[in-house]
């Protein structure tokens, strides 16, 4: 297993780390706790089970209810929250080599669209969060760290110029290839800097419907 300092260094450098077969006989809580502190978030289970679902079988408040077995577009998790979790870990329970998690560094978006424009771009959650809807910038700095948020379903532009900036980001991402990583073996774990990296899932064929991934959020590494 990669030591904690290696995990921290690689996530700081590349925005993510892939750890093959991380303590594959242990629970996700137990295994991922070796890498960092698992967050407890209001209204969410500490460990969430992700499995492919057809659009008709899933509610509209989750990605499967919008995209079904098709590819999930690039996004950051909980982009509609004021302060989304810093890290997320995806851990394979039942693998599917033909399904991949796509990753893209927001640094490419900042370079293409411009830091100032992204910092002025304001979005609103599509639904109230905690009883209210608050303006959120696409790009902000939190205690010296950049936080980029993106989601094409759960947030939308709040002003005219923000709409133009969001369209520029969408166009850029439409042509962004990203890196592909498959969680194929039990215990395969992908830790992602959720403030920096966008992620998405490739489409799922009927042969991969048994894929099971567990997700936890981390407050530090």
């Amino acid at each position: 297993m990669a030591p904690g300092s290696t995990v921290r260094r690689q996530v700081a450098t590349r925005g993510y780390i892939f750890v093959p077969r991380l303590l594959s006989n242990e629970s996700t809580i137990s295994a991922v706790s070796q890498l960092g502190t698992i967050a407890t978030l209001a209204g969410l289970d500490r460990v969430q089970i992700l499995c492919p679902r057809k659009r008709a079988d899933a509610p509209p408040n989750i990605y499967s209810g919008n995209f079904g077995l098709d590819a999930f577009p690039f996004h950051t998790d909980l982009a509609h929250w004021s302060l989304p979790p810093r890290y997320l870990a995806l851990r394979c329970i039942r693998g599917a080599a033909e399904v991949a998690t796509r990753l893209f560094d927001s640094g490419g978006i900042v370079h293409a669209v411009g830091q100032a424009a992204l910092r002025r771009a304001l979005v609103l959650p599509r639904r109230p969060v905690g009883g209210a809807r608050s303006l959120l910038p696409l790009l902000q700095r939190i205690e010296g760290v950049s936080l980029f948020r993106w989601d094409q379903i759960f947030i939308g532009p709040a002003t005219r110029t923000s709409r133009a900036t969001c369209e520029a980001v969408s166009s850029f991402l439409a042509a962004a290839p990203g890196e592909h990583i498959s969680l194929a073996e039990r215990g395969d774990t992908l830790v992602i800097d959720n403030w920096r990296m966008l992620h998405g899932r490739t489409g799922v064929l009927t042969t991969a419907l048994s894929r099971r991934v567990e997700r936890v959020y981390l407050v530090n590494l």
Binding site: L41, L78, R120, L221
Partner: protein
Amino acid sequence: MAAKKKSVKVLADPHAWSKDALLAKAQRFAEEMASNTPDDWRFMLWSTLALELLARAALANVSPTLLAEKEWPNVYYALGHQPKTNKFVPRSIDITAVFTRLREAHTGLDPRLAGFGVLHMHRRNEELHSGRLSLDNTKNSTWLPIFYETCEALLVSMDETLNTLFDDETVATAQAMIAAARDQSSKAVEGTIRAHKTVWAGKSAPERKQLVAQATAWATRHIGHRVKCPACECDSILTGVPTGPPNKTLKGDEIIERQTHVPSRFECVACGLKISGLPQLHASNLGDTFTVTYTYEAAEYYAPDDPWEGYEPDNNEP
């Protein structure tokens, strides 16, 4: 010893008095402000709203508790808790107190800028609470440079820049205005104006009358913004450079194009006074940005340029 791991709290919804929530709202108001031209009263009204939110964000950046009215439930609320008090509505301090606290809280806001902030809020209150059109006839050169300077000081206190609120073109204009207002050397132009005033006063009445008529005709024919000369008060011309692309609106069959200009040159043909440069124009009370408006027929606007307009269509000999 291993370094302590740093954790950042995860929050679903931001605190209404948090720096980030207040700054985001200031950004929204600044965008509305910038969608109007600086000589439009709405530009100034949105500027007052943006400045209030920006000032509150800067104070919240020190601590949201500084925004709380004195009763303890307000302080408790500012700390992120919900008081048990029945029908509790959080109350924050008024904006004058916000500027007073900013001035005394090492935010870099000097008394001059804090004083402007209070004055700007008074203008807004007069606009909102009385029937007087307080914002309609305020020359933008009297408030816009110090407005941008105040915004910049508040943003810097939060480790931000003017680019957080405004696009690149507006920031460039704002910085030129701030520099012009600070430029003391430009005060020399006041002597030039006095000299032209003296020479003008020495001219005979018939000569002045003839020059006034010539100046009016000249100012009508020439392209530029017509203003009164600070020396002889005749019609004269101010020209400038655009601050960004024109704003186009469609009204019936006409396209109206409005473009904000920063003044760069002044000329009066009556007394011969010429002034160049924004700092000198600002010192001469000619530093107001102005809007140039063009009206086109939609067909004319979208029609491609035709160098042989007026001739029959091209034909290889009839």
